[in-house]
Symmetry: C2
Subunit: 107 residues, 2 copies
């Protein structure tokens, strides 16, 4: 991993929501997907992931259900709710604004 977590801090929830908007998924898979998407430049650590799930669920942005695996370990799937969809749009706008501001300040 080459990116320090403090810079990514605060984006975890948006990253998860974005990923779940593509399709429902589960913790272990999301962790692997993020690494793959970023070619190992960024890893969303498991502990970070699960604490974000908790916040997202409490906020009503995601809901969960158990997969019906007949083989292998059980999987807890996550799905974005309607409120989550809206929250994602808001996160995204915030990111665009933050990007502009930081770019302005780091000249």
């Amino acid at each position: 991993m080459s990116i320090t977590s403090d810079i990514l801090r605060g984006h975890t929830e948006a990253i998860i929501l974005s990923h779940l908007l593509e399709q429902d998924s589960y913790g272990y898979q999301i962790n692997k997907d993020i690494m793959k998407k970023t070619e190992n430049r960024y890893e969303l650590k498991e502990a970070t992931l699960y604490s974000a799930f908790k916040r997202l669920e409490q906020a009503g942005y995601i809901r969960t259900y158990w997969g019906d695996e007949t083989v292998g370990a059980r999987r807890r799937y996550y799905a974005v709710t309607e409120n989550g969809r809206k929250a994602y749009q808001s996160y995204k706008r915030e990111w665009e604004e933050a990007k502009t501001i930081i770019d302005q300040l780091l000249k």
Copy 2:
């Protein structure tokens, strides 16, 4: 202020260094300048500012000296060191990479 602090977190030191690279300055002024530069969309809170100064000085990225004001309150000026200049370049590269990664993940 419209940008949440968690998104800006971790950029404080880079923002300060960038500002000081333009010219030496002091706490109160930097605080005002950042607000002006961002048209009040972002405020670097004083407590945040001073704790960042401490870290930057401890890291050897800035040095300080007292202004020679004959009127008004005394001012503690900050100046970027050579190491600070290098650190800034590093922060900047990190920011560019983080930007790419987040843009990739928030589709």
